[in-house]
Symmetry: C2
Subunit: 135 residues, 2 copies
């Protein structure tokens, strides 16, 4: 039986396993978190970056919907629970050293992710040193 203390993910034994292996062995940072980039599966738009702890990543994999760990609230949360902006997982990729996950998503609700009401969090672009809102 799995113990409560058993880690949810294995640790890669070496760099080769980390970079070339078939085993998902995410490297969480000192705070137990991994960066998760959400990209719209259909349009390719980068929507947001959030943070997952092991439990959030495990639930994301198991349930097919994005969970995060809120650093400000120190709590696990399913994206969209209050906003309706549930993020359905289409595909999950990891980077070379497995300290970032890229989640291709199909946003539910109004099709956005950002708490400001913009579709994506990256709604401002630098032009001549100023931030300009883009459509």
């Amino acid at each position: 039986m799995a113990s409560m203390d058993e880690p949810l993910f294995p640790t890669a034994p070496d760099a080769d396993a980390l970079e070339n292996g078939a085993v998902l062995a995410p490297r969480f940072d000192g705070a137990g978190l991994i960066a998760a980039v959400l990209q719209h599966a259909a349009t390719g738009e980068v929507m947001m970056l959030g943070w997952m702890n092991a439990e959030a990543l495990r639930r994301t994999l198991d349930e097919g919907e994005v969970w995060f760990f809120s650093r400000s609230r120190n709590a696990l949360w399913r994206k969209g629970d209050t906003s309706g902006q549930i993020q359905r997982v289409v595909e999950i990729l990891v980077d070379c050293d497995q300290d970032v996950v890229l989640v291709k998503v199909d946003p539910q609700g109004d099709g956005g992710v950002c708490h400001t009401g913009h579709r994506a969090c990256f709604y401002r672009v630098l032009k001549d040193g100023r931030l300009v809102e883009r459509p």
Copy 2:
């Protein structure tokens, strides 16, 4: 005259300025770093995630080529200095709370970013719980 101690970027006075303002006021973390997502400007492929300190971000803006701060080497470096994979900046966006930058790039050299030789760092996708290399 600018002092050596003068910050390279301003701090937003409040959440409204942070989220709706035209002033770039990046929020660096406790280690003085901000996450930078590199996306291929032409294809939309998410290439990698790196970390910038204020100096790396400043140089990236001024020079139009991506600089990072290496956490393992504790040093500023221009991406591509040894690999030739210079990342020309096409466009820079910030997220709602300005703690992530999204850099759309035109990769030079062999057109890739990853030290493993893959074009992008996200070369493995999860399929039935295993990591599978994608073309």
